[in-house]
């Protein structure tokens, strides 16, 4: 089997959970779908707004749809073989453990820092063996090389760990998608057994 067929056959047996379908989650899901992931479990409580189109993997004809539902439809257009379990729900420390119980890797793709902390603490406490790929620090533009991959056992953090979104430092499409695709890239490496 050639290498392309090998990696796709391995990924086709894997499940990735994505908590949040905004700038990080929607772009990460698209990359994983294109790479041939077998199953995605995606969750977000929100719906697509016009402002989201500045960086999130949605389209104008999806305005008003629940993000998880819209993203599932988009993934189906990329590759209908990818099984997508879409949940329109606000995640909390209890429901997220059930919802993502069957995942091989979990992606933390929230916008809000307090939500990020909630999910990371829940996983480190109750599922420390589950590989978790989180992100912190992606606001603004440029400084591509400042977005680092930080390993803390089964927790991988991606970002510059300091650039917080604000009025003067908005998230922009390029830098958010870099972080999202780095999350996808690290997930793929983990799933293929490449820990380097």
């Amino acid at each position: 089997m050639n290498t392309r067929d090998w990696y796709r056959s391995v990924l086709s047996t894997k499940t990735v959970g994505i908590a949040g379908c905004g700038g990080l989650g929607s772009n990460c899901a698209a990359a994983l779908a294109r790479a041939g992931i077998g199953r995605l479990i995606i969750a977000d409580f929100d719906s697509v707004s016009e402002a989201n189109l500045d960086r999130q993997y949605f389209f104008r004809d999806q305005l008003g749809l629940a993000k998880a539902v819209a993203l599932k439809a988009t993934i189906g257009r990329i590759d209908p073989a990818v099984k997508v379990e879409a949940h329109t729900v606000r995640l909390d420390p209890k429901n997220l453990l059930d919802l993502f119980a069957g995942c091989d890797v979990l992606i933390e793709a929230f916008d809000d820092a307090a939500q990020k902390a909630m999910l990371i603490e829940a996983i480190l406490q109750d599922r420390p063996e589950l590989p978790l790929i989180s992100s912190s620090g992606l606001a603004g533009w440029g400084r591509s090389n400042s977005i680092q991959v930080y390993h803390s056992q089964n927790l991988i953090m991606i970002g510059d760990l300091s650039s917080e979104v604000s009025e003067t430092l908005p998230p922009t499409a390029g830098r958010v998608a870099i972080a999202a695709n780095m999350q996808a890239n690290e997930a793929i490496a983990l799933l293929l057994g490449d820990k380097t």
């Binding site: 990080l24 990371i120 992100s135």
Partner: protein, 69 residues
């Protein structure tokens, strides 16, 4: 005492041979509202920061969480 902090070796003044997580973060000047702290791989929640002691040789990670996504 010498510890590993975020994968770097660092020295801290610790008259009693230990520092609480709170003291360690204060010594670094880290007052971010959201930090994930692990000591030797175990999560230390904020309410335990004052009581959790860090000693020579410990591996400590303090990861700053900021909004954006």
């Amino acid at each position: 005492m010498t510890i590993q902090l975020n994968n770097n070796q660092e020295d801290f003044t610790a008259p009693e041979q230990s520092l609480s997580v709170s003291e360690l973060l204060a010594a670094k000047g880290w007052t971010f509202p959201l930090i994930i702290v692990r000591v030797n791989g175990t999560l230390v929640k904020r309410e335990q920061w004052a009581s959790c002691k860090v000693v020579e040789g410990d591996e400590v990670e303090a990861l700053h969480l900021v909004s954006g996504g």
